[in-house]
Symmetry: C2
DNA sequence: GCTTGACTTCGAGTCGGCTCGAACTCCTAA
DNA sequence: TTAGGAGTTCGAGCCGACTCGAAGTCAAGC
């Protein structure tokens, strides 16, 4: 039972991950992949399914704002073996906290926005229901629309 | 009863809003303020409390990723008067949706991160409890740390 | 009269993360 | 044998939102 691991071209990886081929080359150059990418006889990149899996995780880290240097560091630690488990944990924990903070920040902004949207919705409803508006022409909340 | 509206220096506004004086000047130049900022005899900016209030809203819009051109547009509409209420509403609604999407995206990234953090936590707990690890030296999830 | 400190203008620089384009090499299929 | 298409390298360019620095003005206090 000889299982040959299939390899993927950069185009295939691009399709599977949603990253452009440009970005994939860039990521490789930035050392964001766990191990060096193989090449075929013509020098073309041969990716593995594991690369794809990792790139998917990578995408999550990126979309949650982890900087490339941190991702590189994480990958580096991974390569160094099991003795870096604590360090990897710490790195992820720190990021986890940042993302939570970011969600909280967005939520707080969203509260303000929701409130304003609501205000305008009411105002428009009132404006169409009874065209007469008794508080004068510009009655925005706190005078800022 | 003559109520003189007090004016604030750029430094005071900076303190109250958390924006640097550099940024405040930049925002003025980018037309993000509702009305033109007054100046004293020496050419120094005189802000109003309303400016501060608006800047606080502005900060929320920014922290939730609204681009400066959109904010400028919003302010512009506001200046144009009540007939732009629908347009302002639309603008805010669109942003609201973007922010919600962004929160969802972060949340989905957070799920992955939480899962990984959890994985490492367990692994470390196991590693310290019984130093022997029966599945070999590198048993990361799906082989990617 | 001199320093201090907050202000002014202007234009240039920074940063991260792509994004693009030029010029080239291969392989395949008609 | 020639055209197409997917790949390669390299370096430059872009974007938004600041951020900084130089050089100058002004008013108050010592």
């Amino acid at each position: 039972m000889t299982t040959t691991t299939p390899r993927l071209s950069i185009g295939e990886v691009s399709e599977r991950t949603g990253l452009t081929t440009h970005t994939l080359r860039f990521y490789e150059q930035e050392q964001l992949l766990v191990d060096p990418v193989e090449r075929d006889s013509a020098g073309r990149r041969l990716f593995t399914e594991q690369d794809v899996e990792w790139l998917r995780v990578c995408t999550k880290l990126r979309s949650s704002g982890m900087p490339l240097p941190d991702i590189r560091r994480y990958v580096e630690l991974f390569r160094e073996g099991p003795q870096t488990v604590q360090a990897r944990f710490d790195l992820l924990r720190a990021h986890q906290e940042r993302v939570r903070a970011q969600v909280a920040e967005l939520q707080s902004a969203l509260d303000v926005i929701d409130h304003k949207v609501d205000f305008y919705a009411r105002r428009m409803a009132a404006g169409t229901a009874e065209t007469l508006w008794r508080n004068g022409p510009e009655c925005d909340e706190s005078a800022n629309g």
